[in-house]
Amino acid sequence: MTPAWTPDEMLTVAAARLLWDGCVCFVGIGLPSAAANLARHTHAPGIVLIYESGTVGTRPRVLPLSIGDGELADTATAVVPLPEIFAYWLQGGRVDVGFLGAAQIDRFANLNSTVIGDYSRPRTRLPGAGGAPEIATNARQVFLVLKQNPRAFVDRLDFCSTAGFLEGRGGRARSGARGAGPQAVITDLGVLRPAPDTEELQLVAHYEGVSIDQIVQATGWALRVADSVDVVAPPTDAELRILRDLHARTRAAHGRPVRVPY
């Protein structure tokens, strides 16, 4: 039987459920942005969304394609300069959750979004770190969303763009990074969390219809599995309807022709 939802939808719903009403969330573009706005439209109407373009308390009616779409400014409580968003709001300690994606992750939730191959002569030049290095080390905690496969979940990163737990076992705390670091990695197969002692990611939950073995196979290192693994409740009808409406509104808005007054 074909499931009634896609892996992306399950990921987005599972990630949205981690956010709480009143939470101050510094949002990355793409899947984190979709999940944060789904949370706002469901159980967390009072969530405060901050995008690095300087929009504070934004309530976009459609999902932004870029981090600085006009929709984010039009619906914000305040629009502040970019140096201020990083200095006063993020570094100043106002952010509960940094909500990010990345191209690659390792077992200690360090992230690569910079290069595949050697930095000076890369095989693939990726976009780069952007705001992530400081979001991940100044927010009180970090949630990560990535699609899980062995190319993304790697044994060794080619480049560390953004610190998770570094080498684990207190490495992050010793580095001077503030905040508790990545507390959840939500994938299209399940949820990983750091083990309390080693800080190595372990599987703590999977989705319906996904086996633990499948998740282990989708991981480029020998993934540890927690003693007890939960099954994440499938998306509710309401969650799916609201998410699909949001995506439909977004597609319509992004397809609308732009006219430049001249």
């Binding site: 970019l82 976009p127 705001g131 430049v260 007054p261």
Partner: protein, 293 residues
């Protein structure tokens, strides 16, 4: 401040080899000015921008750049900047030196430049390889607490170029909406060129609005639609469909060149560029607005 044509502003103030920041964080990206730089064939530029975006993809692909300082080099919401990638990965059309920061690092660097400090500082780069591959990233020990704080050298561009909504006839410039690091980049630069959507008699700027006084603006030019395919708050929206289309246009060298030949090198003005893409509306300009050519 001198109000002049964009062509004259670029001819007079942009020189080969300069360090140039064309800022605007997704919003108010000065595309018209970049196209004029490409048309006038400037060479060996050190490009500075937090997000290279399509604007620098075009300038790099046209062969005008020797170096780039940046912090996030993707096509926002779409994927790669293929011309930037080709230059970094394959050296086409020429090799490019990469100086890479985080956003917070770039912001601190511009702020230090604007403040005439030798460096900016931040709680940043912790545990990353960016500080390994970029020798500009260093640290100081706080004289009060003994903490180690990351530092970045001040960014002082030879020239910053911005796009804004309005200028008045004295050249005072008003920006609104998402600001990025535009004010810092403007104040850090030795010279400042601004293109605007329209020139008005009175900015009617609310108190505390972001106004760049005419006496810090080296040259201003009226270029309606000058931020397209990015956007100008209250004038036109970001053309997200164009950003998606750019992925295919730019993916392959020959198609990119043909597109640039037709749409940028094959026209003389930004108005012709907009007409060529079929996005110029027929709505007459607002009363009192000046429209060049």
């Amino acid at each position: 401040m001198a109000l002049m044509t964009l062509e004259d502003a670029i001819a007079r103030h942009v020189k080969d080899g300069q360090t140039i920041a064309m800022e605007g964080f997704t919003h108010l990206i000065p595309f018209a000015a970049a196209h004029e730089i490409i048309r006038q064939g400037r060479k060996d530029l050190h490009l500075v921008r937090m997000t290279p975006d399509i604007i620098y993809d075009q300038v790099i692909g046209a062969g005008c750049a020797r170096a780039i300082t940046f912090s996030w080099g993707g096509n926002p919401g779409v994927g790669s900047l293929h011309r930037l990638r080709d230059a970094v990965e394959k050296g086409w059309p020429r090799p490019i030196e990469v100086i890479e920061h985080s956003h917070a690092g770039m912001a601190a660097s511009y702020t230090a430049g604007a403040s005439d400090l030798p460096f900016g500082m931040l709680r940043g780069y912790v545990g990353t390889d960016l500080s390994r591959v970029n020798p500009q990233v260093k640290s100081v020990t706080c004289p009060y607490t003994g903490e180690s704080i990351a530092t970045v050298p001040a960014m002082r561009p030879d020239l910053t170029i911005l796009h804004a909504q309005q200028a008045d006839r004295s050249g005072n410039v008003l920006l609104r909406g998402i600001l990025g690091a535009q004010k810092e980049a403007a104040m850090a630069a030795r010279e400042l060129i601004v293109t605007v959507e329209e020139v008005v008699d009175d900015l009617h700027a609310p108190m505390n609005a972001v106004v760049l006084p005419g006496w810090i603006v080296t040259a201003a030019a009226c270029v309606p639609g000058g931020a397209y395919p990015s956007y100008a708050q209250d004038y036109y929206a970001r053309d997200n469909a164009f950003y998606v289309a750019w992925d295919e246009i730019s993916r392959e060298r020959n198609r990119f060149r043909r597109w640039m030949d037709e749409h940028v090198l094959g026209v003389r003005t930004h108005a012709a560029f907009l007409r060529g893409l079929g996005v110029a509306s027929t709505r007459p300009p607002a009363e009192g607005a000046e429209v060049p050519r």
